[in-house]
């Protein structure tokens, strides 16, 4: 039997004004288990807390009920008070007689009656409380960042800065991601490479950061603080630690006809390649799909020219297993495929390009060495049409494109238009828009400059059709404000293709048991208050894998994710919430209902041996709760048909005791 103390707070006149506190403490004295009951003006004050502490010692209390304000206000306070007096913090229950009684009722008599009922319910619950100890689990002080774009780079740098080791897994041969492919960045127009590559070098030189380039995550197990991850290092047929990145092999390789993905396939690279000059790690990679040596066993030119002896045609995929305390998803985005948008003639004409291709066309390291030339004939285009919202803001039922706004297109299109007019004032630039969306620091000013200073023709309306005619592209579009249909003979059409999460995100989310929305963007733990955390503890989100973002936003989210990771890794032990689910093995059916409703993947199953009544041994599948992962929602307790699942702190018996006390 518990020895319960009841402490009724007046809260000045906040409670005492509508509730007869004397009567309440008197009435609760007679409840089962109650050995002490008192009231005081301000229970949360030092003096009030001392009353509680003294009573715990004097009356050897095993549980206390504080009738006061909302537990959301002072539950933590009174738990600390109890702990200071040597009582388990979870032996404290609060009866909310202020917010849910004295403040909403006017009549003293009925207010007092209700306060007594609420007090009785709390007493009934405490009678069934058991001391709870938060589970502790150690923290592996190493973080994993999946994706080596600007988001992953920034997150890794910030974590390393705080002194924790970080690994970056990047599926491409180099880190840098999409930002490395960009020419200039809005709205300041500084060169992307100039601000990105120093960061890439920082990453390479930081002894806390390891880069697993040309690698993919194969398997993730464990939970917050204790993830075990298998990383597949794909064979690049070049010894990473031996290769000096001199690039001789990439010049001598006889296989010259490999589409260069870094330049969006607008020129060719060799079968052995370094994606771009500032690649990190600056190590060559042999593309097994094109290498003659790997395909037919005849060639071997690169091995002959390599003075360092780095080429190794026998290299195999390697699996590395590592433990991590936290994982950051930074898998980034891709422009969507234009295959379904026949009306823009993307697949018919080389001169219809996406914006990312346009970036490469204007980049000094691109296929045209920075000169804006048409891909088809290398001529300078005089009329350029930019089409916005291609595949963004589409109806869900339309089956092509995405429902969301891709967010970055308005600004980069303004940038492209402006830069084109700046470099080639003889060019006519048209931008067809539905809305121009420029919320952001110095964004609208930027767009207005494109219109006012650079004379870009912004036309409200959408392009309906692009048809190649001779060496021109006939663009038929509407000008909604003039209620006119326009026919423009363009030399180049640039499509602002919608962006979508990288294809690797979905399988990764499954491995992480992290949730995703219907568009395959990772879901955040709370859309406003926890935007860089996944609902799965220990998993954080950085960059466009969570939603469309521009670079500044990505970087700030990357740093925010890093801050969260640092906060986690700084702890030696993780104290869990002790109010977690608990499975009673004897009653568990092993039916998996609980597992299916658990949003956190906290439930696993094991085959256990049970002695049967006839002394034989039977093996049964039973559920086990990982207390470090469980957040204590209780969905499993109701899904469980046998009632084997219970929730500590909100046990079935406790809630029923409250129901009974109220309904009595």
């Amino acid at each position: 039997m518990q020895r319960i103390g009841v402490f009724v707070c007046w809260c000045g006149s906040n409670i005492a004004g509508t509730v007869d506190v004397e009567k309440v403490s008197e009435a609760l004295k007679n409840e089962p288990g109650v050995v002490f009951s008192t009231n005081y003006q301000y229970m949360c004050s030092q003096a009030g807390q001392d009353i509680i502490k003294d009573a715990i010692a004097e009356h050897k209390l095993t549980g206390i009920v504080v009738c006061s304000c909302s537990p959301r206000m002072h539950e933590a306070t009174f738990r600390k008070t109890a702990a200071a007096a040597g009582l388990n913090s979870y032996m404290v229950e609060i009866a909310n007689i202020r917010e849910q009684c004295s403040w909403v009722h006017k009549d003293m008599q009925s207010g007092t009656e209700k306060a007594i009922i609420l007090g009785k319910a709390a007493v009934a619950k405490v009678n069934l409380n058991a001391p709870l100890t938060p589970g502790e689990s150690p923290v592996t002080k190493r973080a994993l960042v999946i994706g080596g774009g600007i988001a992953g780079i920034q997150t890794a740098l910030d974590i390393a800065e705080a002194g924790f080791p970080v690994d970056i897994v990047e599926k491409k041969p180099t880190i840098g991601g999409k930002m490395a492919q960009l020419d200039k960045t809005f709205p300041t127009l500084d060169c992307a490479a100039c601000i990105l590559t120093p960061k890439m070098v920082d990453v390479a030189q930081n002894d806390k950061i390891r880069i697993f380039s040309y690698s993919e995550v194969e398997e993730i197990g464990g939970f917050v603080g204790n993830f075990t991850v298998k990383i597949k290092k794909k064979a690049r047929y070049v010894k990473e630690d031996v290769c000096t990145g001199c690039g001789i092999c990439t010049e001598k390789c006889p296989q010259k006809k490999v589409p260069n993905e870094f330049n969006m396939g607008m020129d060719n690279r060799r079968a052995v390649y370094i994606p771009f000059a500032q690649a990190v790690p600056k190590v060559a990679t042999i593309d097994p799909n094109y290498c003659t040596m790997l395909k037919t066993g005849k060639c071997g030119v690169c091995a002959k020219v390599c003075t360092a002896g780095a080429i190794d045609y026998t290299q195999k995929d390697e699996i590395i297993e590592e433990k991590y305390g936290a994982i950051v998803a930074a898998t980034g985005f891709n422009p969507i495929s234009m295959d379904k948008f026949d009306e823009f003639a993307y697949n018919q004409s080389k001169d219809v390009i996406t914006s990312l291709e346009f970036e490469r066309l204007t980049n000094a390291a691109g296929p045209t060495a920075g000169k804006l030339l048409r891909p088809s004939d290398g001529k300078h285009p005089h009329t350029i049409v930019f089409v916005q919202c291609v595949g963004s803001r589409c109806d869900a039922c339309a089956e092509k494109g995405k429902e969301y706004c891709s967010k970055i297109c308005c600004m980069y299109t303004a940038k492209h238009a402006m830069l084109t007019r700046d470099k080639y004032p003889d060019t006519d630039v048209y931008v067809f828009y539905i809305d121009v969306r420029t919320p952001g620091k110095a964004f609208d000013e930027f767009y207005r400059r494109a219109v006012e200073e650079y004379g870009v023709h912004y036309i409200k309306g959408m392009v309906g059709k692009v048809s190649p005619e001779g060496d021109k592209l006939m663009v038929r579009a509407s000008d909604l404000l003039a209620n006119k249909q326009l026919n423009i003979a363009a030399d180049l059409v640039v499509l602002a293709a919608a962006i979508e999460p990288d294809k690797s995100a979905r399988p990764l989310a499954t491995m992480l048991t992290a949730s995703m929305d219907t568009n395959d963007f990772f879901t955040e733990a709370h859309p406003k208050l926890r935007p860089v955390e996944s609902p799965t503890a220990g998993v954080f989100l950085s960059g466009t894998c969570q939603g469309p973002k521009d670079i500044p936003e990505t970087v700030s989210q990357a740093s925010a994710a890093a801050a969260k990771v640092i906060g986690l890794l700084a702890k030696d032990k993780l104290m869990g919430n002790p109010c977690v689910a608990q499975s009673n093995e004897l009653m568990c059916n092993g039916c998996s209902s609980c597992e299916r409703v658990c949003p956190y993947g906290a439930i696993t199953y094991a085959d256990k041996e049970f002695r049967m009544p006839d002394r034989t041994v039977a093996i049964r599948r039973v559920a086990m709760v990982n207390e470090a992962v469980c957040q204590g929602c209780g969905a499993c307790t109701v899904a469980c048909p046998s009632g084997a699942m219970d929730l500590k702190g909100f046990a079935t018996s406790q809630i029923i005791a409250e129901v009974d006390a109220i309904c009595k």
Binding site: S70, V104, A525, C633, I656
Partner: protein
């Protein structure tokens, strides 16, 4: 004055800790009155509410039971209230099928910001239950004192 003879129902309200309980607190902060007969039981999430609790409350003499949770999509635990919604849809429909007055049981989504909605809901629900009178169909006579 007939107030003393007037039927006063007993109402149990299950409120999720993160939204509806906070909404109830906000109603308190704003001094938005609702009847004394509403007694709140705090649960971590509306998905913790087992149909057994509801039936137990009726059995023990509650005249109305209301379950409050975060709005769909806003669950602190991401999906808890979606399960609640399915469970309660089936339970409510079953009780109705058995001839239990459907006004006795209700589910409302109340966010932490909706103090006014909480108070209004409780007023409205109490009124509806009062109009029905005592819960006779679900009560266990042995529990009557």
């Amino acid at each position: 004055m007939q107030i003393n003879n007037e039927f006063k129902p007993k109402i149990v309200a299950f409120c999720c800790n993160w939204c509806s309980y906070a909404g109830a607190d906000l109603a308190g902060n704003n001094r938005l009155a609702y009847p004394e007969c509403v007694n709140i039981i705090r649960v971590p999430c509306s998905c913790r509410v087992n149909p057994i609790f509801i039936l137990r409350a009726f059995q023990r003499g509650a005249d109305g039971v209301i379950i409050c949770g975060c709005h769909p999509g806003d669950c602190h635990y991401t999906s808890g209230n979606y399960y609640t919604r399915r469970r309660m849809a089936l339970l409510f429909s079953m009780l109705n099928y058995l001839g239990i007055e459907k006004e006795r049981i209700r589910l409302e989504w109340v966010s932490a910001a909706e103090g006014a909605k909480f108070a209004a809901t409780m007023n409205e629900f109490t009124e509806a239950v009062t109009a029905l009178g005592e819960n006779k169909r679900l009560e266990d006579l042995r529990c009557k004192k």
